[in-house]
């Protein structure tokens, strides 16, 4: 069966510090991978998605970036965090002909 791992679960970082969130998927090949952000009490905002190694599509211009160095690994990064980067970050994957997404446990990021 497929599983998705996302870490860390919580993170408190100072403004201006770098960020690296990692997500890995097991049990499937060539998944579509996604990074979402959710502000408190709000809906989901798609940040990045990837349909293959090295292929990244950005949905929202910001100081975040994503990379996919391996087929089942997706990384969200920032060189310098802003207060507005605080939120709940969710990694997800989908595969095949439908877009049903399966989510990781999420990372709650607080920038102070």
């Amino acid at each position: 069966s497929q599983t998705i791992h996302q870490w860390p679960a919580t993170l408190v970082q100072p403004v201006g510090s770098p960020l690296s969130l990692e997500c890995t998927v097991e049990g499937t090949s060539n998944p579509n991978l996604y990074w979402y952000r959710q502000a408190a009490g709000r809906g989901l905002q798609l940040l990045f998605y990837s349909v293959g190694i090295g292929q990244i599509s950005s949905e929202v211009p910001q100081n975040l970036s994503a990379s996919r160095p391996q087929d089942r690994q997706f990384i969200l990064s920032s060189k310098k965090l802003l207060l507005s980067d605080s939120g709940f970050y969710l990694c997800a994957w989908s595969t095949g002909g439908i877009t049903e997404a399966f989510f990781g446990q999420g990372t709650r990021l607080t920038v102070v």
């Binding site: 579509n32 798609l46 049903e100 990781g104 999420g106």
Partner: protein
């Protein structure tokens, strides 16, 4: 502009009552997904509706899809406290098979 609108955004109801959450969308799509999110947690896939007239049921929840009306409903029968959560609908962003357009979510509180 592609939109997915949920109604209501907030619902407080008594246990034992029935209610319906509505999801309207503006794009041409025959694929719709319902998710549940508990407070502070990630999203869990509930239903995948892949054709006009599709109906899925799980326990006290039943979802249906009318692609001609661009409307999906999530019906709650004899609500129980454990169903308290935020419910999201999402629609495939055709012709892409990679992206979902998300509703804002319906926060459901069921009181004993």
């Amino acid at each position: 502009e592609l939109k997915v609108e949920q109604n209501p955004l907030f619902l407080s109801m008594q246990e034992g009552k029935n209610y319906t959450i509505y999801c309207n969308y503006s794009t041409t799509s025959d694929r719709l997904y319902w998710y549940r999110q508990d407070p502070g947690k990630s999203l869990e896939s509930l239903f995948v509706l892949l054709s006009n007239g599709a109906v899925k049921q799980e326990g006290r929840l039943m979802a249906s899809l009318d692609t001609k009306a661009r409307l999906s409903t999530l019906h709650i029968t004899a609500a129980v406290h454990d169903l308290s959560a935020t419910y999201f609908c999402a629609v495939d962003m055709l012709p892409s098979n990679y992206q979902l357009i998300w509703g804002a979510g319906t926060k459901l509180i069921i009181k004993p």
